[in-house]
Symmetry: D2
């Protein structure tokens, strides 16, 4: 089941067409994956405190409809896969009321140390993701 988090659109997120600027959906993706990790007992701060970082290696977003000022949006996040050295999150962005799919996309992340050297996925991440898959 996807993890969901909500976000209220402000003027600062929008562009002159009265819709959320296309780059800002990537902020929504960050909100989605951060809250997803928090819910399974991991935080990005925790991971980076152990010297492992997970920079974005690739992102993609398909825009279906427009999020507008003051919309309450729902960010649905799932883990598409966890491989030895990378993880992919999938996102769907919905307007809450009336419900409508606005965008969908993904981010692929590597695991690296503070010098940028690629590392295998941290053990905590592997275990938490396994738990999730067993529950599902």
């Amino acid at each position: 089941m996807p993890h969901t988090t909500e976000y209220r659109v402000i003027y600062g997120d929008c562009d002159p067409f009265d819709v959320v600027y296309y780059a800002n959906y990537l902020d929504f993706f960050e909100r989605g994956r951060t809250e997803f990790f928090r819910d399974i007992g991991l935080t990005y701060r925790l991971i980076s405190d152990t010297g492992v970082f997970s920079p974005v290696a690739e992102t993609n977003c398909k825009y279906k409809s427009s999020a507008r000022y003051d919309d309450l949006i729902v960010i649905e996040t799932t883990i598409a896969y966890l491989k030895r050295v990378k993880i992919r999150f999938d996102y769907k962005i919905y307007r809450k009321e009336p419900r409508k799919l606005l965008a969908e996309g993904y981010t692929v992340h590597a695991f690296v140390n503070c010098e940028g050297k690629i590392l295998p996925a941290p053990q905590e991440v592997i275990e938490k993701v396994k738990e999730l898959l067993c529950e599902a």
Copy 2:
């Protein structure tokens, strides 16, 4: 030949890892395509003043290396294709000195009227892009 434009990275573009936040590469893409259009005698304002808008339908970015604070970056923009109802721009983002590829990606745009109805590409755009292809 790709169109190039330059941009200086500020603190406001960066994240706690001292690199440009991943969403902000999409701002670089916007700078690239806007200056590209200006150079061939088109502006987005001109196009939207005629009632035609070109919202982003899809974007993709692959991150190769990191743009850092105070880097002067070079945005290379090309038109990958112009079809009846859509156009795709390709981008490469380089650090200027020493030159290094930082990211590459694309945006696909539809043409719509102010109600969001899909339109064919405006005649001015078709003609300018044809001219470009003849020159190349």
Copy 3:
């Protein structure tokens, strides 16, 4: 009593010093006044739908301490005054746990029509603010 709303800091809000970039506190101010208005039965969309806009005429922010990545912050908003043609909101930004004042500031807004002509405060705003003052 001030109105409070909460917000979770993401990487996209922060700068290379691992703290929220100074401009982004103004986004927090917008969140604060929007939720304040919603709570008293007004929305910015409602006001602008009647042809009245309330652009920011002045802003000020004093930075006391730093909001950091993943902090849950509390935005306290009060109305400092409502005059014939302007309104001022005051803001205090706190880290929630452990509680600490991070910043305080204000925004002054004019009321204008769609051509930018200054208007008196809309009747709905005056009435709602009067109600608030009576309750307090």
Copy 4:
């Protein structure tokens, strides 16, 4: 004489009222002071590499008129004062053509070490600012 730098407004800078979002003027301020410092032979990176940081302690902006999409704006930066432990920059933001004052404001900066302890202004900064004052 004020230092000037130019910047082209993109959609990503604007809000639904087709004007630059109020927080983004603070990005313009950062561009202004960074280029000012570069022109007098200082860079923020240089200063922070010596372990001295200059976080913003206060900012203020008065909005006079609106910067719009595709406007070329001019950022005029001056040093209002340099005191023992702080420095203030003043900014004026103009639309270039036709020239019009859009906003004016300031930022006050402290000097701190990496633990946030307040330091006196670095000697390089004092000397460069003295040179500037002698020339003026």
